[in-house]
C-alpha cells in the first residue's frame, strides 16, 4: 500500500504545487479544474521522477512558512536601505566586496534556496558556487566588514534552512 502510494506520488509536495499553479493559471476554482490539476500533478512528477533520483527526504513545511515571512520582511527592509545608498552615497565612497560563505548545507535544493534568498535580499547577489559545492561566492554592494555579512547570512538564513531540510 505504502509502496503503491510512493510509486504514484513520488513527490507529494510537487503534486500540490502543480495543482495550485494550474488552478491559479485557470483563475477558476471549480471541481473540474482542481481534478484536472490533480491529474497533471500526478502525471508530471511520475514521468519526470527518473531525473531526480535523490530528492530531499525530510522537508519540514511548517518551518518553511516563518522562513518565507522572514525573507519577505528582509526584502522590504533591505530595499529601503539600498535605495538610500543609491540616492545618497557617492560612487567613490561605496565599498563593494566579495564575501565567501563556507556552506554547511549539502542538499542542492537547500543551497539553491539559500542562493535565491541572498540574491533577493538586495545588497547581496550570490555569484557562484565552488567546484565541489563547499562554499558560496556572494557580492555585497556596500560592506564595511565582509565577515559580518558572512556571519549574518549564516546565522539568519543558513541555520534556519538546516532546520527545514534536516
Amino acid at each position: 500500500m505504502v509502496k503503491a502510494f510512493r510509486w504514484l506520488l513520488p513527490h507529494p509536495f510537487l503534486t500540490i504545487l502543480l495543482t495550485a499553479v494550474w488552478v491559479l493559471l485557470q483563475n477558476n476554482v471549480s471541481t473540474g479544474m482542481v481534478v484536472f490539476g490533480l491529474i497533471l500533478g500526478v502525471i508530471i512528477p511520475r514521468i519526470t521522477a527518473v531525473w531526480w533520483p535523490d530528492r530531499p527526504r525530510g522537508f519540514r513545511f511548517g518551518r518553511m512558512i516563518p522562513y518565507v515571512l522572514l525573507v519577505i520582511w528582509d526584502i522590504l527592509v533591505a530595499n529601503v536601505q539600498v535605495a538610500w545608498i543609491v540616492l545618497t552615497r557617492p560612487n567613490d565612497k561605496l565599498r563593494p566586496a566579495w564575501v565567501v560563505i563556507p556552506l554547511e548545507l549539502r542538499q542542492p535544493e537547500a543551497i539553491s534556496i539559500l542562493a535565491g534568498t541572498i540574491t533577493l535580499t538586495p545588497g547581496t547577489v550570490s555569484a557562484d558556487l565552488s567546484d565541489e559545492g563547499h562554499s558560496l561566492l556572494v557580492h555585497a554592494l556596500d560592506a564595511d566588514d565582509p565577515d559580518a555579512v558572512r556571519d549574518q547570512i549564516k546565522e539568519r538564513y543558513e541555520r534556519r534552512l538546516i532546520g527545514i531540510f534536516a
Binding site: N27, A83, D131
Partner: protein
Amino acid sequence: MTLEILATVAIAFCLLIGAIFSLVGSIGLLKFNDSMTRLHAPTKVGTVGVGALLLASLIHAYTFGEGSMHEVLIMAFLFVTAPISANFIAKVNIHRRSCVSPPSPPRDDTWSTLNVPQADLEIVESK
C-alpha cells in the same frame, strides 16, 4: 462606498511605492560604475518595485472587477527566476574579468565558473 475609497487610496499608494522603487533601481543602474555593483539595482526593481505594482493590480481587480490571482503567480515566477538571471550576469562578469577577481574558495580548488579547460581561459585572455 468607503471600501472603494480605501481601495483606491491603497492602489495609489502601491503604485507610488512601485514607481519610486523602479525609478531608484534605474538610477542605480545608471549611476554605479562597476558591472558587479550595477547588478544590485535591477534585483531591487524586480522585488519591491514590481511586487508593489502587482499588489496594486491585485487590489484593483478584487475591488472593481473580476478577482484575479494571476498576479500571485507572476510574483512567484519572478521570485524564482530573478536570482537565476542575476547569477548568470554575475558569472559573465567573473569570466570577462570586468570586476575585481573573487578570492579563491577556502576549502575547494576554484569557483565552478572558472573551472574550465585551460584553452578556453586563453581565449578570454587574448581578447
